[in-house]
Symmetry: C2
């Protein structure tokens, strides 16, 4: 599965959420990561993120695609980091 | 086409980029918008965003899916705004 993750969390939790997500996914730009995950890895990532955020005020959106090619990607401006998956 | 847009732009351009994107897409959380667009609408949005950003330092990632159902969405924490597309 290909995963796109975007987070909107309070500054004091930003570091922990980013550190957690980076153990599974590739950083693309601020608050956005991507990568190939197995269902088990996704479940573990979700579980760790749920412990890292404040569910009353933080928000994490995870988009799960069957494979990277299910989405066409358009980049405007500078590419801060290029995950290898997209052709 | 279903579009997911994430932006990472300097603070001074944040307002203009958000205002531009909101004319086409639904705000989901900070720096993230989604919505159904025709190819012509996507081209216009791209063109307007290219005029709003600094291509040397700002970054906009646009993921284009054939339809919303091409991605499964997982939300952790609070849902700041719920685009109607995802079941």
């Amino acid at each position: 599965m290909y995963v796109i993750l975007a987070y909107d969390v309070a500054v004091e939790r930003n570091g922990r959420v980013l550190k957690t997500a980076r153990r599974y996914l590739t950083w693309v730009q601020n608050s956005l990561l991507e990568g190939e995950l197995s269902p088990a890895q996704l479940r573990r990532l979700q579980h760790e993120l749920e412990r890292a955020i404040d569910p009353q005020s933080d928000s994490v959106q995870i988009y799960v695609l069957p494979q990277a090619s299910a989405a066409r990607r358009v980049c405007l401006g500078v590419v801060k980091n290029e995950p290898s998956q997209f052709v």
